[in-house]
């Protein structure tokens, strides 16, 4: 192993307290003016996220329909307080606005926490780690130009689990981790990318998400019930529903919104309650990883076999820390490295690996320059939500709620991914002029993944 390309350890990157160069804590906001000032890690974060308040708040690049979600909730609750509460306080009880207000605050807080929290993003492998992994893969004995296996098998609670290699993050993904192509990040315990909250739902914010949808179901059901009671009370005495609606037009709007949303939100809450009780993720449920489709005796190795313990481990476990350390300071020499990590690594692999490196160095830069600079075509498309298909491709699965999408996509999960993969496949073919094997056949016989995620990689592996 050559040591020439390894950089000397900068004391700042190490856990011992060495304040060189002295970071100006919170004194200077604009770190781009003077190149000598240390930059914070969020400024060079490779994923597609946006950061506010100097890295304290993060959102996905595409906020999806989060403004719509917030707007609907605020407007419906506002109309409730303005139109229904005065009447109900007079005729029933004054607890109603109190309960409504409490639920509303709860819903908004949990929604903001779901959207603005790091879902459990795994930072990308450092160039040294990636080189080490590449070396290990190469050492598993292929002298030919056949692409090396990009999966690793581990035994978890007597269950064989395949760990896949993530081309964007340059590491073997831990179990239950998936790469979200919308956010371009690997997320631990990836559930799904929710456009309604504009963020991925993963290990760190699943409990917020669950609390949000459960409290939202209560809020929607509560408002629906109150509005119905209000209109019924107004309409009694033979006056009729139309009269009641004319007297309180806001209630009509609320009624419509609540009627249409209560079913899907209740359905979603029920679905996620089932997932929590069996310690499954939406991703696993849709792919059928543990349902026994792929073989006999396949059980969920992460389940504690007890509903109560499963619920507690998902919702009440100690809150894991954010691994991306977005407010940490960069060592001064790393800021150049991380910016060009994708291209830089291609160069490093060229140095480390022998003949294969020549093949890689020829193919990779060509691929990288013609395809997306963020190496998007290589990322495995594992999000069950058809969000990229929604945004960029007309998808037959276009539906308006996560719940509907989940139930619909179990049937048609393979069709939306093919839209994005077809485009990326065409781009790659154009760049490389090599005959591409069909998507349905895994290119490398040693990586026969069952999920759709391998198919996106399947077209790329000939280069490796």
């Amino acid at each position: 192993m050559t040591s020439c390309e390894y950089q000397q350890i900068d004391p700042q990157a190490l856990p011992t307290p060495t304040p060189a160069p002295p970071p100006h804590h919170g004194n200077d906001r604009d770190k781009r003016e003077e190149p000598k000032r240390p930059r914070r890690k969020w400024q060079v974060f490779p994923g597609k996220n946006r950061f506010y308040c100097d890295g304290r708040i993060m959102v996905a690049r595409q906020s999806g329909v989060l403004p719509l979600t917030l707007g609907l909730i605020v407007i419906t609750s506002g109309l409730f307080f303005i139109f229904d509460c005065p009447f109900l306080v007079k005729h029933l009880t004054s607890c109603i606005p109190v309960i409504g207000g409490g639920l509303f605050v709860f819903v908004v807080i949990t929604l903001l926490q779901t959207s603005l929290t790091d879902p459990g993003i795994l930072p990308r492998a450092t160039p040294d780690e990636a080189a080490d992994i590449e070396k290990q893969i190469d050492n598993t004995g292929n002298a030919s130009y056949r692409p090396p296996p990009r999966t690793k098998e581990v035994l978890i609670n007597q269950q064989v689990v395949k760990l896949k290699y993530c081309f964007s993050c340059k590491m073997f993904r831990p179990p239950r981790t998936s790469h979200c192509s919308l956010c371009d990040n690997c997320v631990e315990r990836f559930d799904h990318h929710c456009p309604w909250v504009g963020n991925c739902v993963g290990k760190r914010n699943y409990r917020f998400f669950y609390t949000f949808i459960v409290s939202l179901s209560f809020l929607t059901a509560f408002i629906f019930g109150c509005v119905t009671t209000h209109l019924a009370l107004r309409a009694q005495g033979g006056k009729g529903l139309v009269f009641a609606l004319q007297e309180s037009p806001g209630s009509a709007v609320e009624l419509v919104i609540c009627f249409f949303s209560v079913w899907s939100i209740l359905g979603l809450s029920g679905f996620h309650t089932y997932l929590v009780a069996s310690n499954l993720t939406t991703n696993e449920d849709i792919k059928g990883s543990w349902s026994g489709k792929s073989g006999e005796g396949v059980t969920n190795p992460y389940s504690h076999k007890n509903i109560f313990i499963n619920c507690c481990s998902v919702l009440c476990a100690p809150m894991p820390p954010s691994l991306i350390d977005r407010r940490g300071f960069l060592p001064t020499d790393e800021s150049v490295q991380t910016a060009g990590a994708g291209i830089g690594l291609a160069a490093k692999s060229e140095i480390n690996v022998g003949t294969k490196g020549l093949l890689e160095s020829a193919a990779l830069p060509a691929l990288l320059s013609t395809s997306c600079p963020q190496m998007k075509p290589q990322t495995a498309y594992t999000c069950p939500d058809s969000s990229p298909a929604v945004n960029s491709d007309p998808s037959p699965q276009l539906s308006t709620s996560c719940g509907a999408r989940h139930t619909a996509s179990s049937q048609g999960d393979t069709s939306p991914p093919r839209h994005t993969k077809t485009r990326s496949k065409k781009r790659k073919l154009a760049a490389l002029n090599i005959p591409n094997p069909s998507f349905d056949v895994p290119v490398s016989p040693t990586s026969p993944d069952a999920g759709p995620s391998s198919k996106a990689r399947g077209s790329f592996t000939p280069l490796h």
């Binding site: 004391p11 795994l122 476990a317 100690p318």
Partner: protein, 143 residues
Amino acid sequence: MAETHSLQDMRQQAAVAAKVFIQRDYTKGTVCQFQTKFPSELETRIDKQQFEETVQTLNNLYAEAEKLGSQSYVEGCLACLTAYTIFLCMETHYEKVLKKIAKYIQEQNDKIYAPRGLLLTDPIERGLRVIEVTIFEDRSLTR
């Protein structure tokens, strides 16, 4: 302090000979555990038992951080009732244990690894993926 000072000197002046990465051990699921297998590159620098003891202690500390016990349930329920706003003010159990781990690693580095020309990097700096062991060139120690 003198030991720390020499550690800094060594880091600034020594050349990195190699880096060894101790990967995660997923046999118990997604809990944070590292493989205790002794890497061959360290055979000349440190004895196997010492290294394995370090990794095992780290594993125990991480297990303690993620333990599902009555304390974590109470914390979780309380957090849920307050719409998880207490996470903004309070230091979580996990973070407390991470501080303990950082202290332990620093202590191990100062006492055991630095004198042998090795350096352990806290796994949290690598996203809890690996324990990075940096091997410094021998000649920097014989100054």
